[in-house]
Every structure is written in C-alpha cells, then in structure tokens.
Amino acid sequence: MLSSGQANPSGKADYLGLGLLILGLALPWILYPVLATNIIVWALFAVGFNLLLGYTGLLSFGHAMFFGGASYITGIVILHAHLPTPLALLVGVAFSVVLAYIVGVLSIRTQGIYFAMITLAIAQVVYFAVTVFIGWTGGENGLQGVPRGTFFGIPLENDRMMYYAWLLIAIIVVAFVKRVIHSPFGQVLKAIRENEQRARSLGYNVDHYKLMAFILSAAVSGLAGGMLVVHQHFTVMDSVDWRTSGEVVMMTLLGGMGTVYGPVIGAAFYLLLSDRLAVLVNAPGVVIGSIFVLTILLFRRGIVGEIIGRLDARRARGSQEA
C-alpha cells in the first residue's frame, strides 16, 4: 500500500501544529482575506481526503462529489429554505454522509485502481445531476447570490470575520481528525493500509472500518464544500468536476499524505502557487500538470513527509552515536 512518513507520535510537543496556528491567526493580515479563506476551505477538504488516502490507503478519485455536491446542497438550502448558515452547513454534511454510504456500499470491497475508477465514475453522476437539475443548480452559470448570513452571532459579510469563523471550524475539525488518527480506530485504519489481509485475519471487519473512514472523510469534505459556497457567495460546476477530485489528491500529496498537517500545508502551498502563477501564465493545466508530475517523480513524501523523514534520519544517527 501507499507508504509515507510517520505521523507525529503523540505525547511529543506539537511544534508544527503550534506554528500553523500562529500562521493561521496572522494569515488574513499577510494575504488578502479571500485567498486566506480559500486556503482554509481547501485545507479542510484535503484533511478530510487524507483521512482516506493517507491513513486507510484508499485512493478516491471522486471526492469532488462530496465537496462540490455539498457546496450545491448547502447553497440551495440557504437560498430556498433560508436556513441559518450553521444549519445549512450541517445539511451539506448530512448529504455527504448519505452519499458516501451509498457509494461506499458499492465500492468499498474493491481496491486500488478499481476503487479509484469507480469513485471517479460515480462522481460523474453527481456532475450530470448538476447539469440536469438546472432549475436548482443554475447549470453552466452556477448557483449564484448565496448570502453568507451569520455564524453564531458573527457577521460573515466582513471578510476577516468570515476568515476567523472558518479558521475556528477548521481548528476544531483538524483537532478532531488528529484525535481520530491516534485513536484505536485510527490504528486499525493504519493496519489496513499497511496490510489488509493481516488486519482481516486479526479479526477486524475491514470493510466496515474502510466504510467508516470513507464516510468520515466525505463528511469533512462536505463541510469544506459548504464552507466554500458560503465564503464565495456562489458555487460553479468546477466544484464537482473530476479535476477538483484530482486537485485534492495533488494538495495532499504535495503536503505529505499520511501526516496530520501535510494536507494543510499542501493546500496552502498549492493555492499560493496557482494564485501567483495565474498572473504570470494563462495556462493553469500546464502549471498544475507539471507540479503534479514533478511531485510524484521527485517528491513523493511531500513537504511534511520529507521534513519528518529527515528528522527521523537525524535522530536515528544521533541515537547510534550516543
């Protein structure tokens, strides 16, 4: 299965997490707040995705169906049912959970390439649904004019307020995901990633664990999708496109899959890079495609994976000398 750098062993001081927290608090004063919020949303999506790829070893190539699908559902319930923003986000999450259950039942017994192709194909059904229900989704024009509303009293129309509200959600979710990863449940997932047959023979219901991981991953991705539509005031078909499914793989890989903070850093790095390069060249695919190919060929462990790998190597040398 996909091997990668080790997660931070618990018990050790979480310097990386602390550093990211400080950076997160300062971010909307360094970058323009809209970009900063984008980073939060995509980072959360990548964290959700990593739960599946990095910790369970399943490559979904259709996660845009949860991210984009929930962004439409959240936007629609805000626009048409006038639900308050926090409740609308929960509806988006619920949608993702139900969809993930259905997709999971169909696909979870398959592995590797099969799983990737099936998730990709089913995600295409969600894409078609968006094109068919034009009355609800706006079709090519996208779902427009979604008001941000308030979040437990915080007025979200202010860009920086919006950022901090979303940062708060992200911190809570990342802490939760970290807790899950280090829990006995997370250990079983890692066992499945490393050797599914062995996990099965130890008596674990592997399919059940994989389905749970899939649903959890979809729920986080759906939350991120809902946060996207509220933040942007709109969502477009790009959010359910297969390229979006590919982009989140890219972010996770770039930051370091199977590490807690890798996806966060990967998403930030990726968005900053495309933000800068979009000004220079009008060829996003060429740029992203190149980064993709180079990362896979030369830099598979990703940024955080690479750092942890080097630290571990140094520590190993140090303990040998001592």
Binding site: T110, Q124, I296
Partner: protein
C-alpha cells in the same frame, strides 16, 4: 418507430466502437503494466489532432492519417513510458495513475493554448460521404465504416494476442514477468511496446472520431470516464471481454436514451453500479483483476 429504433441501435454501435477500441487499449496496458492509463483519452485526442494537423499543413488525407497518426502517438506514448512511467514501476500502482493524470492536465492545456477551446471540423473523406442503404434502413456511410473499422482492429488485436507466438510471450509475461525474463526475453522492451501499442489504438480511435465530432483539446475528457465505467462493467483482465462490453454498453446506453432521453448521460454509470452489486468483478473479470 422501428426505423428510428434501428438507427438508435446503430448509433449505439458507433459509440460502442469507440468504447471497445479504448477499453481494449486500457486492458492490454493494464494486463502487462498493471497501471490504468489516465492519459488514454489524451492519446485519443492527440490522434485526432495529428490527423487534423497533417491535413492542414501537409495535406495528408484521412487514409494516410489512419496509419500515420497511431504511429506518431505510439512514439509519444513510448517516450512518456521510457522517461516517466518506467520510473514508478516498483511503487504502488496508484502513483502511475496520478502521474498519467498530471500528464493529461499538461497536454490538454498545452493543446488548448495552441488550438483554442472550440476545436475545428475535420471533413469526412469523399469515398465515405453520403448514406448507405442497408436494406432495412439507411445509415450514413462514414458511421458504418467506423463500426467495421473498429471491429476489424479489435478482432485483429485479439487474434494477435491469442493466436501468435508474440501474443503467447505477452500473455506469459502478464502471468509471470520474472520467469519470462529468465527465458531471455526482454520484458522491459515488451512493456514499452505494449504501452505504445495501446496508445496507437487510442489514436486510431481518435482519427476515426475526428470527422464525427470537432477535433477539440477536451474531446478525450468526454470519453475517458465512460470508458473507465466500461472497463469496470467488463472487468479487468479480459481482452475479448473489453471488446464485447464496449459494443454492448454502447448499444444499451443508446437504447436507454431512446426510451427515456434524460437518462442518457448517467445510464452507463447506473449500469456500472448494477454490475458492481451483482458481480463485483465485472462481467468478464477475474478476481485477481479487481483485487
């Protein structure tokens, strides 16, 4: 009613012809390399573009393109395999799926920059213009040609793999590459050749598609994901299975669209979901392919 139903079945055979050629190429590549070539749709698009560029700048006709384009694209495939894909064979197969995904993004966007989004028409060769009276119905000659050409190429490929000694070597290498290598056969060269051949099949389909639709940079996108669904329905690992499933799915989807038009875009995926529930390994697949 009957006339239009017959027409719809033939439309299904035409799209099935493309599914069959593409899923056959994917199946052959998967058989030996164990990778899913995400860039297969891109090779199909490049095939159409080579024909188009050949016609524009060199005045090459359709028949020359039908031979030349697959050769050019095979060379592109071989270069990609040698320089990029071959570096990842020792790793998890998923890395190569991601690599070919990156290659797809790159090539598609580069082609978009050069030729624009809209694409350009490619004229039907004049020998194949007009319509053909099939006795029970009238159908465009070119589309009949597409079905026949696809069948010929697919069956020839199948015979090549099942009935020749080269095919026997290939099947042996699929079963046990180490052992075949011990017999003194250059397996890496075989792998490169197979990848090139698979790309050539996609390019051949691309040339055939050029007069049917516009030659456009994103034309590969429209076909690669349905083709993946075809592969899942047919099951990995069967050469004949991928051909039969390709045509079968084309016809079933066309009939579904005939009786209930809104379903046309999604029927192929519903079919896939159904097959997964009933027979998770696919219609012709072996357990080994899916696991």
């Amino acid at each position: 009613m009957l006339e239009s139903l017959g027409g719809q079945i033939f439309n299904g055979l035409v799209s099935g012809a493309f599914y069959a050629m593409l899923s056959l190429g994917l199946a052959i590549i998967f058989g030996l390399l164990r990778i899913v070539n995400f860039a297969h749709g891109t090779m199909y698009m490049l095939g159409a573009f080579v024909a188009y560029i050949g016609a524009q700048s060199l005045g090459l006709n359709f028949w020359v393109a039908l031979v030349a384009s697959p050769i050019v694209v095979a060379i592109v495939g071989i270069v990609l395999e040698r320089t990029l894909l071959s570096r990842l064979y020792k790793l998890d197969v998923l890395y190569n799926l991601l690599l070919t995904f990156g290659i797809t993004l790159f090539i598609e966007d580069a082609m978009r920059l050069k030729f624009g989004m809209q694409g350009s028409p490619y004229v039907i060769p004049n020998q194949l213009e007009g319509v053909l009276n099939l006795g029970f119905m009238i159908y465009p000659t070119y589309r009949v040609f597409v079905i026949v050409a696809s069948l010929v190429v697919c069956i020839a490929t199948w015979l090549l793999i099942e009935k020749t000694s080269l095919g026997a070597t290939l099947r042996a290498a699929t079963e046990n590459p180490g052992l075949v290598r011990a017999f003194g056969i250059n397996v890496p060269a075989l792998i490169t050749g197979v990848f090139g051949f698979g790309c050539a099949l996609a390019a051949f389909a691309g040339v055939l598609a050029a007069p049917v639709n516009n030659v456009a940079p994103l034309m590969g996108d429209d076909i690669i994901i349905p083709t993946f669904a075809v592969v899942v329905i047919g099951g990995m690992g069967s050469i004949l299975g991928s051909i039969v499933t390709g045509f079968l799915v084309g016809v079933v989807v066309a009939l579904g669209a005939f009786f209930y038009p809104p379903i046309s875009g999604t029927l192929i995926y519903i079919l896939m979901a159904f097959v997964l529930l009933v027979k998770p390994t696919g219609l012709f697949g072996t357990l080994e392919g899916s696991r």
